[in-house]
Amino acid sequence: MTQTFTLQIDRAEGSLQRLIGLIERRGFHIDRMSVADAGQQREVRLTVRARDEARCVDVLGRQIDRLVGVSRERSVSEPYQEGAVVCTA
């Protein structure tokens, strides 16, 4: 199961490194990634996969939300299933 995040991130020094570091440190592989210019910001699309079953992609999403200068547009899990990766009731 993979999850794709679409993010807008500030063009600040270290912002990509910060994002990628967080994802890997929290136990996810990055399978695909693209970065595109979006004016003041950059649009980053990332497809990630958990390294083991204990990792919850919902929690990763909230950890990404904590980053300053990053906003999450949408997250799609594939194959898409309603509520498939909800870790909190």
Binding site: A12, E13, G14, C56, V59, R62, T88
Partner: protein, 567 residues
Amino acid sequence: MTSAAASQNIQADAEQLTGARLVVQALEREGVEVVFGYPGGAIMPVYDALTQARFRHILVRHEQAAAFAADAYARVTGKAGVCLATSGPGATNLITGIANAMMDSAPLVAITGNVASPLMGTDAFQEIDILGVTLPIVKHSWIVRDPADIPSIFAEAFHVAQSGRPGPVLIDLPKDVQFASVRAPRMPRRVALYAAAADPAQIRRAESAISAAKKPLLYAGGGVRIARATGQVRDFVRRTGIPAVSTLQAQGVIPNDWPESLGMLGMHGTRAANQAVQECDLLIVLGARFDDRATGALAKFAPNARVIHIDVDAAEIGKLRDAHIPISGDMSAVLAAMNPRPPAIADWAETCHAAAIEHAYRYDAPGEGVYAPALLKELSERAGEAFVAACDVGQHQMWAAQHCRFSDPRAHLTSGGLGAMGYGLPAGIGAKLAQPDAHVCTITGDGSFAMNIQELATLKRYNIPLKIVLLDNSMLGLVRQWQELFFDRNFSEVDLSDNPDFVAVAQAFGVDAFRISRREEVSAGIERLLAADGPCLAHVIIDPMANVWPLVPPGKSNAEMMFGDNI
């Protein structure tokens, strides 16, 4: 305009124009009262501007101590602590302190100099990519490229450090940016500290779950201190009568003499607390994060409980344990809004309370030697409401958490998440400067004390009347205890019997010191320590083989506690 006034104006303008001066102004604008730091080449323009600053600079003797002192200052005041260092080794020396603030969510603003922008990326003398090195241990960080951004970056940095779940931030200042003149600095927009509002529907669900519970239990964590919600939590306990366990960081939230108080949970927690967690049917988690030292084997933790998890940081909810009712928001507001019909739990409350009484710590250990738990209990009781402990890491830290009386969680400063030896002395300095009227005591061990022993010079320099209790077992005690219990008594590199004479060392630094070697000397020693006008160290000789009890072996469930002689 007279020519004198005109030239004054020009001077004022000229002063305002450097990046370094803007840094000082930005700190003044944030109301900073004290900065802990250490100078060096790449931060010299800021040090040059410091002599005009309206705040105090405390010169420590190691940058790690600057970060620890600023962290403790922040924990006591709730406002960001500030530390300042040069590039390269100055910056890397801050790292342990930044990590400590990250793990325990303390608002810390770390400011580093760096080599001039054109040299960055060329392996210049004392160049370290400190932004890169610290990425995993900061909430956010900036390299200032345009000196005109200094006011707004500093304002944002303080905001990020202090808002939501607090934490450390880092601002890296290339030397040319500090020197540069600025025509029109961009002034910060005022950003109010906001607290996310919790979902009222979840609060209603929590109320029903609490009212229906047969064996509810509060699990209070460091978030209570950080949210300054101690009063609200106590009020909630009074309204509902629900028993409470607390983490290392939450000692002092529920007064020890309340019937609902079951003490600390986890590895060195009380039997009553760990039993209650295993049996409860509803766990109300208040600003805690299911740390492994608190939960033991996670799969067996609170096996029968539904979970209400209240935390300002949504990313903590569901991280390690699913929450049936997740509530993300400011704790005081959530608790004020939560008014459940009190559950019918008289039997459960009585069972918990009876266990707490039955398994209470005993202080009648046989022998003539000093019994550290009894000494710490007496110290905290004599110091009373004004007692603040700044602990180091090891057995003495656990004894302090178990046996001291804390009037408030802000009275217990301890390196919990990182467990960094060396915290105690600089943290005591930060805490005493933040709260000059408190009885601030550093509680340390002979191993930990040596890690930042140079700060005795800082005590002397500023005549900071910090009191130090050095519990000397001439061992790396906690490691020795684990070797005894889990490595077949194969004692490896834990003997410190060749320690220096700590009384003589303190005196050489100009700090008053004396020794306590026998139990009968304890009361007079505590008296002398607390009465001392200036800094004072009590060197306490304890049994090298004393252990911390009870204990949950690493990796085991909290139901599998081991007991020693004082339980």
